[in-house]
Symmetry: C2
Subunit: 280 residues, 2 copies
């Protein structure tokens, strides 16, 4: 039997309602499609933790800025559905933009503070788009648990915050980053890399891993980050938006590794803006 | 048996969960307390339409501006609970501000457009406060239906919009304004009026009713509103924030009564800022 695809919120609720009536717990895996093993690791985690897994496919226009890559963002629904099915997911929710944002749509969910720094600073409006669509998806499905990758670490914190603040009765589970053998974090936008850029890309993970190691050893945070930035530019990245060490919960700048911290970075390589992070 | 009061979201969910398990439909009546017959009419409507009615009492700090009357806002929980019980409500939810806005709270729900004009223009941030707390209350309780008065007409439209936009599975029912015999709309802030101001206050309803009648008869909208403003100032109102005729759904200005419209007004009388509206 092939996996079921639903395309409207009404149909989604009917399907999930059946599962809820038969006391199945539901896991939600929101994605923008272009699935890779990072996404599939979320599906596997959901399958292990819940009774029924719904994967969502929606390239959310609300989180792309004016000059960004909404039109170019890789889309291949048939391939995504095949991967979800092969992994054992039970349902794919692939709404249209018209169903998610019907005429007259106006509401915005914002998380000031957490959502304004780092990615929010470099991509104005990005986290309003993310917070709004995730709030919608969670309220639409009301699963027991939703799964997000640590890869988008700031996004994960923003989502945790809005779920607590709006009392959305869904557990949020962050899942480990999946990496290529050379360390590059899996990302749909890696598809933008040329072969040459792909060979250079692992420098990002090497740089932030180096920062984590150095400051654990007592090195100065600012100096370590500056060194990492220099290394990225030397490796062929054209711009470094940030390499920074932040408190792992609040994302406020830290000057040492006395509390749980995270090294986060974003840098441009060819047409791809890559982000990555590691725990300290 | 006296009515039950719960004070935490967790307790609320336990109580409502019991009702949901026994297939009772739930009606929610969100209020800021200081109950009058306008609120009680919402309770009666909820009792008629649903199986169990929960009234919420929460003076929401998030919807008061810096110079506004948060500290002075009338509060009398014991009286409110007695009124809710006498009316036949089944549960009172009276959370603390700490429970609604715990440390680290950051999320804001905004409805640009509808929430920026009229009251939103005269009370910056007001509708962000309203939209955020109402989103929270609805997601906390997930009732079948929630009841709001037409008195806060713009608020009702903002709430309808956010409920649609965020896919909150709750029906929103607007209920008719309850008025004193002389036409004054019931409002908790009427308590701020002196005896002399109370005698002058019905001028607001008379003014907007006059506008509705005049433009139905073909009068010029701008001229009718200007006349109403003049009448309010002559009646002793110290300032008129607006008297305006708007589309009943979008609140966009209209120049005639060819589509369903609403006359809305806000004006200051002594220490009370009064608002009112009538259908055209």
């Amino acid at each position: 039997m092939s996996i079921e695809i639903v395309r409207t919120v009404a149909d989604l609720r009917v399907r999930l309602g059946d599962w809820k009536c038969s006391a199945r717990t539901i896991g939600l895996v929101p994605t923008m499609g272009s699935l890779h093993d990072g996404h599939l690791s979320l599906v596997r985690r959901s399958l292990a933790a819940t009774g029924r897994t719904c994967l969502t496919l929606f390239v959310n226009p609300g989180q792309f800025g004016a000059g960004e890559d909404l039109a170019a963002y890789p889309r291949d629904e048939a391939a995504d559905v095949a991967l979800a099915e092969a992994e054992g997911a039970h349902l794919v929710f692939a709404p249209t933009a018209d169903d998610m944002y019907p005429e007259g749509f106006a509401t915005q969910v914002a998380v000031p503070g957490l959502g304004d720094m780092l990615e929010g600073e470099h991509r104005p409006g990005f986290f309003i788009g993310v917070a709004t669509v995730v709030a919608k998806l969670l309220v639409q499905a009301l699963p027991e648990c939703a799964f997000f990758g640590d890869k988008d670490y700031q996004q994960l914190l923003v989502i945790r915050r809005l779920v607590i603040d709006l009392d959305i009765p869904v557990a949020i589970e962050g899942c480990p980053i999946v990496r290529e053998p050379d360390g590059l974090a899996l990302a749909s936008r890696n598809a933008y890399l040329t072969a040459d850029e792909r060979r250079r890309a692992p420098a990002l993970y090497q740089a932030i891993s180096g920062v984590a190691k150095d400051i654990t050893g007592g090195a100065d945070v600012a100096r370590a980050c500056a060194g990492a930035t220099k290394a990225l530019l030397e490796a062929g990245f054209s711009a470094v938006d940030y390499v920074t060490v932040r408190d792992a919960e609040t994302l406020k700048p830290v000057s040492d590794a006395s509390r749980p911290a995270r090294v986060l970075a974003a840098a441009q390589l060819g047409k791809a803006r890559l982000i990555d992070n590691v725990a300290v």
